[in-house]
């Protein structure tokens, strides 16, 4: 029994991977209901968008790429649904090369459903290098920093941009990211622009102090953040569907940690017993 317990410390990683894959596939195919609690940070972002004046522009900063698509795409999709539903005009900007393109794919898919048009309901400012200097310049003049959209149309000729004169006409900036780029927005944008973030779970814990200090008006963390926002919108999309396998996988990890610790204690006990026997023999 003791030998068997000790072996729990050295379960082949391929068995663990197999268990994880099996559990995730099972949870994706089996649609069982799970309760969904909404965090105050997600609620706060939802209410900020609800209470945003109609004439204010929302900027989506798409600072993510294919590597973090799994978390950032459902987060972006949930917020874009809210913006389209409430008819809030928005512009996309990105400080990661792939961000604006991947976000555009999400927006175009939803634009068909909501009957939204490019230029009237949304536009794409494209990818910009050097986040700090671009934001510094953006705070002074949007048109000088972004003379044209990604299609080469002058910003003055984009219908939704006609009523946007400067940074004061931007009501909210929501950044989606898998890295620590938030600080640049906090440093460079005036306090009149509310800032919210949707981030991967890896960087999530580092962002909570900015909620406490009031520098962030909302925060969505990882796939769970997407599920919370979908719950607020009353839809069941990728985030909600992912919560079933996510929860089961976490349970499996907890069980494996317990088993590993049992193995460690069993090994320690065996060591003590052998030592005692050795001492008794001498």
């Amino acid at each position: 029994m003791l030998e068997w317990t000790i072996r729990l410390q050295t379960i082949d990683r391929r068995i663990i991977y197999g268990l994880v894959i099996g559990l995730i596939v099972l949870a994706l195919l089996w649609d069982f209901p799970l309760p969904q609690a909404v965090s105050p940070e997600a609620q706060s972002l939802y209410e900020t968008i609800e209470s945003l004046p109609k004439n204010k522009l929302v900027v989506i900063a798409a600072d993510w790429g294919a590597a973090t698509r799994g978390e950032c795409a459902p987060l972006t999709a949930a917020v874009v649904t809210h913006l389209f539903r409430n008819k809030r005009p928005f512009a996309i900007i990105g400080f990661a090369a792939q961000g604006p393109e991947l976000t555009t794919a999400i927006v175009q898919k939803q634009a068909k459903e909501f009957g939204a048009k490019y230029g009237k309901d949304w536009c794409n400012w494209g990818y910009k290098v050097s986040i700090d200097s671009t934001l510094l310049s953006l705070a002074e003049s949007i048109r000088r920093t972004i003379p044209q959209d990604v299609e080469g149309t002058k910003l003055d000729d984009v219908p939704l941009m006609k009523r946007v004169k400067g940074i004061d006409d931007v009501g909210l900036l929501v950044e989606f990211t898998g890295s620590g780029t938030l600080e640049a927005f906090l440093r460079r944008l005036p306090r009149s622009v509310k800032i919210a973030q949707g981030c991967t779970a890896v960087v999530g814990p580092e962002q909570y102090p900015y909620i406490d200090s009031g520098q962030l008006c909302g925060l969505l963390v990882g796939m769970k953040g997407a599920a919370e926002y979908e719950h607020l919108l009353g839809i069941r999309a990728q985030g909600t569907a992912a919560m079933r396998p996510q929860s089961l996988a976490h349970l499996l990890i907890i069980v494996l940690i317990i088993l590993g610790n049992l193995g460690m204690y069993a090994a320690a006990k065996q060591g003590r017993d052998l030592k005692r026997k050795g001492e008794a023999a001498t």
Binding site: R14, R69, G70, A97, Q98, Y127
Partner: protein
């Protein structure tokens, strides 16, 4: 389904399976697709930098609108490449130190806007102002954590007195709890990425999901 979409889905599925095959063991199939991804990302980055930045903001005004003076920043930027010549490398250093200075100045300017509200929000009330017992407890935990962790990072004197040693020890434990929370969050992130791929394989590729 259109042919283009079908090809894209199958390509995505083969690429996903190739990358996931490393879970079993390192293999050539995985290695090949890893290089494909790195090459794609680098090439795509170059293309987007040209399309979204350089073409509209530099090449178009320079070549089509007669703003010839925009050649100057390009020539200055080319000084970076003098790093490959021992004789002329000093020119690249001029550019590098200028950018260092610019970066340092901007960081200094931005520090107050970033850290200022953090410092002021660290002063939390422990009584009065209609605080609920839960808020008081929350603020108390925050204050104890802040003081203990800051004490742990005082290296100017020995932490041998009980008044300093005990809070520093508590600070270390609290840091460990924070690292544990971060690690738990990282596990959640990694699972999310994997679940997204499984959703793609089971849904878009095999059509097994509703």
């Amino acid at each position: 389904m259109k042919h283009a979409e079908l090809i894209a889905t199958w390509t995505g599925a083969v690429c996903t399976l190739a990358i996931l095959s490393v879970l079993y063991r390192e293999n050539r199939f995985y290695r090949f697709f890893e290089h494909v991804f790195i090459g794609l990302a680098a090439g795509y980055g170059l293309f987007v930098a040209w399309r979204d930045m350089l073409w509209g903001e530099w090449w178009k005004p320079l070549a089509h609108e007669g703003k010839w003076y925009l050649i100057i920043p390009a020539l200055v930027a080319l000084l970076y490449y003098t790093v490959y010549s021992k004789k002329h490398a000093w020119m690249s250093r001029v550019l590098i130190v200028t950018l260092f200075g610019l970066g340092a100045g901007m960081a200094f300017q931005g520090f107050a806007a970033q850290a200022g509200p953090q410092i002021s929000s660290s002063f939390k009330p422990l009584w009065g102002n209609g605080l609920t017992p839960m808020q008081i407890l929350n603020n108390l935990v925050f204050m104890i954590t802040l003081v203990c962790v800051l004490t742990y990072f005082f290296f100017a004197f020995k932490q041998d007195r009980a008044l300093v040693r005990q809070p520093a020890k508590v600070g270390r434990w609290l840091l460990m709890i924070a690292f544990g929370a971060t690690f738990g969050s990282t596990v959640m992130a990694r699972f999310s990425l994997f679940i997204d791929r499984m959703q793609f394989l089971l849904g878009e590729w095999l059509h097994l999901l509703k």
